[in-house]
Symmetry: C2
Subunit: 390 residues, 2 copies
């Protein structure tokens, strides 16, 4: 039932979850959110993935979709899961992991009534923690995404025409993303984290706060208060392109800055500081490094250059300088002052020290990195200097 190339990868993931379950005394983990299904089953289906602390998982499937295996049980509603347990002599879990930060309240309460466990724990927290350490297959997916991401970014200068708006520029980039294999859909974690394919921020729109918890904001349009807002691209303006690298299910994150004409020295300097911050982090980061230290180091370097007031925004400053990436754009770890996490081999994260320069726009870069046994490996490799469009 599972594509052979994926089978080993899935088994590796199941083993990790089972180890974590045993360590905390959980007997069962029930998952039904798209990203967790994709992670654990290699596909999104309508239904539930149940993993006991020992043994093989069950796929409880609500819609016919070709799944067939002794571990696959077709159901119409979740109440039939425990019936299937009873028929097969499977013990109901006493300590059950449920996706408490992803299921709706009513979905969660329904599952609670069905399983009636003695104890519950948060599958969202566990899965997000485990998902932060990528498997070899996942790393391979990132490499495919990164390559296509680089290819699209190399085509960005060809998207520009004089007198266009930020939105028109973005439409051209979107088209090239799709032609290079982007799945389009951009997955993020959390309520009200809407984004469409990424963000293009031109000029002072980069300073406009957004309600969403992305690094920078932008006014957006209509009912999407993020990103491009119809700003006419003008001479002396920085255009920050932060469009998704969703060319596989695994998203690379990369930001580059383009300019109409030349930018003032203050903006160019801030851009160089962003590259210096990245270089410094590439030098010092390795397994064991505190994620908070990556933020603190970035902020200190920004302060030393007199740029702290425009670091990660002006009106609203994001309190992080990077974040894990994966099936969702905002996975663990978070590179934030209060982060308790430490880098570990095969974490994949985006580092995005950015500055907003009033009257110019946003500058800085973002790249996706894999944590190796001894340091960092940069996955996204497009040209990092400010690229002048005309």
């Amino acid at each position: 039932m599972i594509k052979k190339m994926l089978a080993d990868d899935l088994r590796l993931k199941w083993n990790r979850v089972q180890q974590a379950m045993k360590a905390t005394g959980a007997d069962g983990c029930l998952l039904s959110i798209d990203v967790n299904l994709y992670y654990m089953a290699g596909r999104i289906f309508s239904g539930y993935f149940y993993l006991p602390a020992d043994g093989d998982p069950f796929f409880f499937v609500k819609r016919p979709n070709g799944l067939s295996d002794e571990q696959v049980v077709y159901i119409r509603k979740p109440e039939q899961i425990t019936d299937a347990f009873a028929e097969r002599g499977i013990k109901k879990p006493e300590k059950l992991l449920l996706e408490a930060d992803e299921l709706t309240y009513n979905e969660y309460m329904r599952l609670l009534a069905i399983f009636n466990p003695k104890e519950t724990a948060n599958a969202t927290t566990l899965m997000r923690t485990l998902r932060s350490i990528k498997t070899p297959w996942e790393i391979e997916q990132f490499r495919i995404s990164a390559k296509q991401h680089d290819k699209t970014y190399a085509e960005i200068p060809s998207c520009y025409r004089p007198d266009m708006t930020d939105l028109e520029f973005q439409y051209e980039i979107e088209k090239r993303m799709r032609q290079n294999g982007s799945i389009g859909l951009f997955r993020s974690f959390g309520t009200n984290m809407d984004i469409f394919m990424g963000s293009v921020l031109a000029g002072d729109n980069a300073a406009t706060p957004s309600p969403f918890d992305f690094a920078l904001g932008g006014e957006g349009v209509i009912s999407l208060p993020l990103g491009a807002n119809g700003t006419a691209l003008k001479n002396g303006m920085a255009i920050m392109v932060d469009m998704a690298g969703n060319y596989t299910a695994y998203i690379t994150d990369m930001t580059r800055v383009f300019s109409v004409g030349k930018l003032p020295e203050q903006a160019c300097k801030a851009h160089r500081v962003s590259i210096c911050i990245q270089q410094e982090i590439e030098r010092m980061a390795k397994p064991g490094t505190a994620c908070s230290e990556l933020y603190n180091l970035s902020l200190r370097m920004a302060e030393r250059e007199g740029l702290s007031a425009c670091f990660m925004g002006t009106e609203q400053q994001a309190k992080f300088v990077g974040h894990g990436v994966g099936i969702q754009i905002n996975e663990l770890p978070v590179l934030a002052p209060r982060s308790k996490e430490r880098l570990a081999p095969n974490m994949v994260f985006a580092l995005e020290p950015k500055f907003v320069i009033p009257g110019v726009g946003a500058v800085g870069i973002e790249n996706s990195f894999r944590v190796t046994e001894s340091g960092l490996e940069k996955l996204t490799l497009a040209e990092e200097n400010i690229i002048q469009l005309c």
Copy 2:
């Protein structure tokens, strides 16, 4: 704080919610999900919209965004909402409406601990019911969307080139959607209802079941199991285009069929039956009509033509023939056999009697309708016959 053109519309909505609250003895309604915020506040912000059963609402805002009004209270966390109530001598609600089908379990439990109400009720159910009856301003938004939707669909033949795939065809349509003002982001209600801008189904891919609860499926690509899958467009193939009408926050829904060369008579006939079903529903539907009857009538007509086995799919048949549209693509009412709803003036719904013809693809049409005082008004007006691309 609110754009003047919207102020009357918002007050109308607040009054409706307050009337419903009084009718059920609720004293307060707390909303924080994007679509409910847009509906009640005219904008998505980071925070909470609180409406008491009597009096003006409060905006509890977590991020600076220019909102300023005596009803706006800046907070860092939801725990400060009840502090703000205490400071202002506002009574805590005894019966509180919370978005039980939208908030995550943990978000809901946190709010419950903060407010500690004697009783709760489901704000999701209430808001979805009220949102099904559109206001004059909302109808105007639909008209704008419909006009741009028509414009994009008229451009679809220019998207076709010989030897392209369904995905390549879709990319061209997406580009025109964006150029005509689509916001891109496609909002739907429910867990795991992922969709990117709409669906293009070519040939037998139309029969592939999807885990998601849309009218038809399609294999999709990678981690998006819906819609186009890279099918090469070939002679004799039907291509069903069901791309979003999200040109304002209010989404019109429209489907048209294009063909490569001529389609076999069986497919042409099924398409005509779809148009006949629509005509029959246009003749009989009016305020008071049971939504279930619209489904039953459609199914009866399909049966009479010997098409019930391919009505709304083959391998997997959707058990509805239409649905309300609004800020989300799947609002109330649902035109399904067990629907208890009846049409009412200013409901806006999509009617989509579709057939999947093996070896050909999907045929049929979909349009968005407003319920008037005496019948239906069709909002989406693109050519309804099968359009031959070459």
